[in-house]
């Protein structure tokens, strides 16, 4: 479903961010993308979201190829790939319902469906009671839930999360992680970038990919259970 083949990304000023990275994520997988700051986690997610194109290699996402898809057609891919961020990126001054409803409206939802579907999505993320609250009045964990509800409006096949718990306390982090697992249980793949190794260790069922200086140095799917891992 998501396939990176010998992907490299180089920036004019920053230099190489990813070097020859290859991996394959299947439908319904839960993947942690770990590594130090600057290791290439966010770049990998941006490449999967086609916010950027690789300098070399190919990114394939749900039938779309980074080599083939035109700028004017990226919106089709975006509807298959939901994304959330550490800083939530919600529309301030609007309610939780309006934030989710806005995403529905701009992705061609029928007018009469907007409010009930937005309500349903907010219920799914456990925020039904706070749908009328302005987002900047919500806690960090609640704001992240709104962002997740927004990412689900187009019923994507994969949810990308870039350090989604980076701004949250332990309790809110646990809540968001449970929510990700619930979403994953419905068959949606989740790829979560995080530098928090303790968090990663508390979910041993998930697959872990580790990046270091732009290279993929560890893939738990290729290492036998119980070993300490090693280079891939």
């Amino acid at each position: 479903m998501i396939k990176l083949e010998k992907v490299s990304k180089e920036y004019a000023r920053r230099g190489p961010a990813l070097r020859d990275v290859s991996f394959h994520v299947r439908k319904g997988e839960f993947v942690f993308l770990t590594g130090h700051s600057g290791s290439g986690k966010s770049t990998t997610l941006r490449l999967i979201h086609l916010a950027e194109r690789p300098t070399a290699g190919e990114v394939r996402v749900s039938g779309f190829s980074s080599d083939m898809v035109k700028e004017g057609e990226i919106w089709k891919l975006r509807r298959r790939v939901g994304m959330v961020f550490q800083d939530f990126r919600l529309l301030r001054g609007r309610t939780a319902l309006e934030n989710v409803g806005f995403a529905l409206e701009v992705t061609d939802a029928r007018r009469e469906e907007v409010v009930p579907r937005a309500q349903r999505l907010l219920s799914q993320v456990g925020l039904a009671a706070k749908s009328a609250a302005l987002v900047h009045e919500l806690s960090g964990g609640e704001q992240q839930r709104v962002a997740i509800a927004r990412a689900l409006v187009t019923d994507p096949v994969v949810l990308l999360a870039d350090e989604p718990t980076g701004n949250l306390d332990d309790r809110a982090t646990r809540g968001i992680m449970e929510l990700f697992w619930d979403i994953n249980a419905l068959g949606m793949a989740v790829i979560m970038a995080t530098h928090d190794l303790d968090l990663v260790k508390s979910y041993p069922r998930a697959r872990t990919l580790e990046l270091d200086q732009g290279r993929l140095v560890y893939d738990s799917a290729t290492v036998p259970a119980g070993s300490d891992g090693g280079e891939v």
Binding site: E52, L77, L91, G93, V106, T107
Partner: protein
């Protein structure tokens, strides 16, 4: 309410200061164009008033019979450039001279016979008062047998034509310059207004809205902002017109067509500037 209209109006509600500022900037830019329009229009009115006095006078022979004169009048009236032909008899010419030159009453009283000839005053229709047409009409009048002499103030007509050409070129050049400056200001104003809503553009791209869909509410918002700026410009121009008319000299107000064109120009420029600003943001926001 339709999504596009609702989101366009929401721009005014969510960022009233920036949107108001943008409309005010558009208004001021168009106000300069409005003032220029006021000057141009009044110059045109003054020129056309002077032009309406352009006429060809054909002086008739003293022995011209009434039938000959009627034929001459009919022949001239048949010319498409002619608006009217007025016959001035010898007696009328003398009466007019006495009225206009009252200081020379003694001279007129001493006259044994009327020395002034009868004449045909040929008025030209609007748009046919240029030197070529005037000369053509004069040459037609000259060959009429009962006509002794033709006068039309060649120098005056030539100067008027030069003045008209100069005014036209200056209006076009300055008008274009003012319009370009206004377009640049409108573009900048709308870019600021769109910048205030860049988060929405980002979210729309993030969740997979089509580019055309993203542009639509901003196009309408830009059009409405430009329209509001147009209204501001008309109000300011009207104030300037009132002040000049009351305290300096009387001038004409702008024709309704010009006002409508100004409003539409504001709206269209606003819409285009908005689209340009959104396009720029769409390139930056991935």
């Amino acid at each position: 309410m339709n999504y596009v209209l609702r989101e366009a109006l929401a721009g005014f509600k969510r960022a009233p200061v920036l949107t108001g500022l943008a409309a005010a900037m558009v208004g001021l830019a168009l106000f300069v164009v409005g003032l220029f329009g006021l000057v141009t229009h009044n110059l045109q009115v003054a020129l056309s008033q002077i032009e309406s006095r352009v006429e060809v006078v054909a002086y008739l022979r003293d022995d011209a019979s009434a039938t000959d004169i009627e034929d001459a009048v009919a022949g001239l009236r048949d010319q498409p450039e002619v608006e009217s032909v007025i016959f001035v008899s010898k007696d009328s010419a003398l009466a007019r001279a006495r009225r206009d030159l009252s200081d020379f009453e003694e001279v007129f009283r001493g006259l044994e016979s009327n020395p002034l000839p009868a004449s045909l005053e040929i008025q030209l229709s609007e748009g046919n008062r240029g030197p070529e047409t005037v000369e053509l009409l004069a040459s037609i009048a000259e060959v009429i047998p009962v006509v002794e002499d033709v006068q039309y103030g060649r120098e005056w007509v030539d100067r008027l034509d030069t003045l008209r050409s100069l005014a036209g070129a200056a209006s076009a050049g300055l008008g274009l310059a003012f319009a370009l400056v206004a377009a640049l200001i409108i573009g900048t104003a709308l870019r600021i207004a769109i910048f205030a809503r860049r988060d929405e553009i980002y979210v729309m791209r993030l969740v997979g809205a089509r580019d055309a869909f993203i542009r639509r509410p901003f196009l309408l918002e830009g059009f409405l902002t430009g329209l509001a700026g147009g209204v501001v410009a008309i109000v300011l121009t009207a104030v300037a017109w009132r002040v000049v008319s009351r305290f300096l000299f009387r001038i004409e107000w702008l024709p309704a067509g010009w006002l409508l064109a100004g409003l539409l120009a504001g709206g269209i420029l606003g819409g285009l500037a908005s689209i340009q600003a959104v396009r720029r943001h769409l390139k930056e926001v991935t």
